[in-house]
Symmetry: C3
Subunit: 150 residues, 3 copies
């Protein structure tokens, strides 16, 4: 018999970087008593995001973070010609790391749909689900986790 | 008892930019009579996309648009060296704003999976769901909205 | 009566580029006997991804590939100033095409949520679902396909 479970999870982040959510999500699936179904994880913020990437070599995460820092500079947006000074971000009320965080969120994922089977997320061997914090300071982040299955 | 509802929505866009879909989607959820469930919103086009971002300061949207315009230039793709002239887009039959629109779509989201509860999307305080038009001229855009819940 | 089906699909890729999954996915939906429901497609790897884009002019795919190759250079990550030499990728154990593949995966989609109706994916006229291989050599790739509907 199909049934659903919808909960909110809180994750504390320390700074820009990655928090591996895989264990937390698997624990929630186990606690739900569901074996097989769909999972929707959503990040309820606009300056952090979700991503699935490698769970083995931490240098993958370092390279990912370095890439996104360079792609979305703290100083502002590139001129259309690609040459000359950056145009500072218009939205700067919450500090210089805020608008780049919104852009980095837009380029990654705010929600993920996945499957679970045997009471665990159906992921590849090298996959982990990460919360990607884009703000510089520690934040308390809320996620929703929706399970629908048998 | 779980049941589903699948509808198609039409949204008129005026030019490159954002249309806040949150109220429209919440209205559809209310009309469905469902209280709690999963929602899948999909954009049935390849030159506009979906994104979740801040609903408060409109300068966030201005900065997002400026960033994506600079990242995916209308003039073409950057040389691999990062130096020298842009190589014009190969696909240009539908005008100079078409291929950049396909790339901007690929970098954002064509579909979103979310949860709803109490007859409304479960979003963070500062989140809105936007249709992001990447073409220059007005377009009539179709979205599918799929609700599955109780 | 709602029911679900969860299967794993294998796709052979030849090199960097796109494999159209639309026919394969529609065949699986037809075989499931389901008419209307939600579909979650997930890529169980961190160096290839999923995307929905144009199904008509192959130059769209050429331009997409050229853009992502230029955006995420094989040689490394751009300096924060945007000027000067690239900093080589830290993660290089699996070859020079591996870390760029992880970044390209992070910028596109690892999973997609879609709807199906009449036994077929509900897509726009010009949309196809692609597996986007980011590694240089052929790979055997696994996808999960989850259908939940009536």
């Amino acid at each position: 018999m199909l049934r659903q479970s919808l909960t909110t999870l809180t994750v504390e982040t320390r700074s820009q970087g990655f928090t591996d959510l895989t264990g937390l999500l698997n624990g929630q699936i186990a606690a739900s008593g569901l074996d097989t179904g769909m999972a929707v994880v959503a990040c309820l913020h606009t300056s952090c995001s979700l991503t699935i990437n490698e769970n083995a070599d931490p240098r993958v995460l370092d390279d990912l973070a370095a890439f996104l820092r360079a792609l979305v500079p703290a100083e502002g947006v590139a001129p259309l010609s690609g040459r000359g000074a950056l145009r500072p971000w218009l939205h700067d009320d919450e500090g210089p790391d805020d608008m780049p965080a919104h852009v980095r969120t837009a380029l990654t994922a705010t929600s993920l749909s996945l499957s679970f089977q045997g009471g665990r997320l159906l992921l590849g061997t090298w996959q982990a689900v990460y919360l990607w914090e884009h703000r510089a300071r520690p934040h308390r982040r809320e996620l929703s986790l929706h399970l629908l299955g048998t």
